[in-house]
């Protein structure tokens, strides 16, 4: 018996689903929709599709709704869903792969999350280390939340939590090369497991 009814799903959608599940190391057939993943998810209140529903929609071939969903962008990768799934389905990995696919398709349903993570990685690419105060300031500028006190900067400075200089690695050129190689497109050439 199959959970699927894919008669109305295009071959493009099927290919997209196949890539997502392959990247994630997940077999959609394993999920019997018990809902334990949604029940334990601390961020489900913020999700338009609960984790169980994300899987259900993919089972049903409705990939475009899943790619537009906020759920994978709200997911904090806390791994509670995966730890509790009776079928050992790597749900947090599936959330990641959906987010990667959405980003490739030019979608970013939660703008702030995308801005934050991109700025974080831009800082690491440049300096090799993350500088939290700089990141917080840049995030406020880019997200338009100019006066949001994301990190209590004055109090942090008083507590010696913000240093006078930026942390950097010695070999900054090596960081740029590493990013270049890691981010080049390697469709279909993934490693084993995750």
């Amino acid at each position: 018996m199959s959970f699927y009814n894919l008669s109305s799903t295009s071959s493009g959608d099927l290919a997209a689903i196949a890539q997502i599940t392959r990247d994630a190391g997940v077999n959609l057939d394993d999920c019997y929709q018990c809902g334990k993943c949604s029940a334990g998810c601390p961020l489900s209140d913020e999700m338009d599709l609960y984790p169980r529903k994300v899987i259900r929609m993919l089972q049903l071939g409705q990939v475009s709704a899943v790619l537009k969903s906020r759920a994978p962008w709200v997911c904090a990768t806390c791994m509670t869903c995966t730890a509790r799934c009776p079928q050992q389905i790597d749900i947090d990995s599936l959330m990641l792969s959906v987010r990667h696919a959405a980003k490739r398709a030019g979608l970013r349903p939660v703008r702030e999350a995308d801005i934050f993570d991109d700025l974080f990685m831009a800082g690491v690419r440049r300096y090799g280390k993350s500088n939290e105060a700089l990141l917080a300031a840049r995030f406020n500028l880019s997200s338009g939340h100019l006066f949001q006190d994301v990190l209590n900067a004055p109090k942090m400075a008083k507590r010696g939590m913000i240093g006078p200089s930026l942390h950097k690695v010695k070999d900054r050129a090596a960081m740029r090369r590493l990013f270049g190689r890691a981010l080049r497109t390697t469709e279909g050439e993934k490693g084993d497991g995750i």
Binding site: C78, A83, A113, D117, M121, E132, L151, G191, D192
Partner: protein, 312 residues
């Protein structure tokens, strides 16, 4: 006990109190930490949502540089987030030679994945550390009721972390007990603090912190102990803000587990970095360090007696 040490990006900034208290405790128990050469950011969840290759390559570079420098030691890191990234990378690299070669090509360095990765909590909860810890602990924390908060990254996914129970871990509780605190049984040991979502999506994420405090308070906790700089920042720095919308405010200070161990070893609050917290710690520290009650059986305190009377 000698380990390669991965401090993580927060070690000299937001996690400064973790660094201060961990190095104090490490020194006292003969735990030698050798900083890894030119280590870089572990990438944490930001790398993971960017690309799996990047998320594995960043830790691999630091681990490979340590191998290249001949640092033939297992790796310890205090930060739960760094632990998760490094451990995941070692797991991935050991899964197949294909994976390992893929990483070597990205980082332009040979990487054999020989070193294991452990969190500082795991190292300190091992028998060879518990023994010198027990010897160095000179003060009891007076039964201070401590709720140990492990968060996500130390215990999940268990196939990768290979450490403690993912639903009801005990290692930090044992250390707190060793220091004379009373471990609180509570339900939120491994719930998520919201991580970086506290910055990018504060609206939905704040509730996660409030729930942690709520459950700790409901179970009578006088303090929360953590093993992660991000958990610390999210709880300690945001407790005041959360209290603004509450009729009955929380009053639970948050400590690194190493700070509480350090206090029980006689370290000063200043030396351990406790004076840098956002939420006041005074009440809990005073209770933890109060002198033991008079041993006299009838329990009449000598200070209540007139000065000239001597008590036999």
């Amino acid at each position: 006990m000698r380990y390669a040490y991965f401090p993580g990006c927060s070690a000299a900034s937001t996690g400064i109190s973790f660094t201060l208290s961990a190095s104090y405790v490490a020194k006292r128990i003969g735990l030698e930490l050798v900083e890894m050469p030119d280590w870089c950011c572990c990438g944490t969840s930001a790398a993971l949502v960017t690309s799996r290759d990047l998320a594995h390559a960043l830790p691999a570079r630091s681990l490979a540089l340590a191998e290249q420098a001949g640092l033939d030691l297992d790796v310890v890191t205090p930060c739960a987030g760094c632990f998760s990234s490094l451990k995941r990378t070692v797991h991935y690299a050991r899964q197949s030679d294909k994976n390992r070669h893929r990483l070597e090509e990205i980082i332009e360095l040979p990487y054999a994945a020989t070193a294991d990765v452990m969190s500082l909590l795991e190292v300190m909860a091992r028998p060879e550390a518990m023994e010198p810890l027990a010897a160095a602990i000179t003060k009891s924390l007076n039964g201070l009721r401590v709720a140990s908060y492990y968060g996500c990254a130390l215990v999940r996914p268990q196939e990768v972390t290979c450490f403690d129970d993912p639903e009801d871990p005990q290692s930090m509780d044992s250390l707190m007990e060793l220091a004379g605190a009373e471990p609180v049984r509570w339900a939120f040991k491994t719930e998520c603090c919201g991580a970086s979502h506290q910055i990018s999506e504060p609206h939905g994420a704040r509730r996660l912190i409030a729930r942690v405090f709520e459950n700790a308070a409901a179970n009578g906790a006088e303090a929360i102990a953590v093993a992660c700089p991000l958990c610390m920042l999210n709880l300690d720095m945001r407790e005041a803000g959360i209290n603004e919308s509450r009729a009955v405010p929380f009053d639970i200070p948050v400590f690194y587990f190493t700070e509480l161990l350090g206090l029980a070893m006689g370290g000063s609050a200043r030396r351990l970095g406790i004076d840098r917290h956002f939420w006041p710690t005074g009440k809990a520290v005073r209770k933890a360090l109060a002198p033991p009650p008079e041993p006299s059986p009838d329990n009449h305190s000598t200070s209540e007696l007139p000065q000239e009377v001597t008590v036999a």
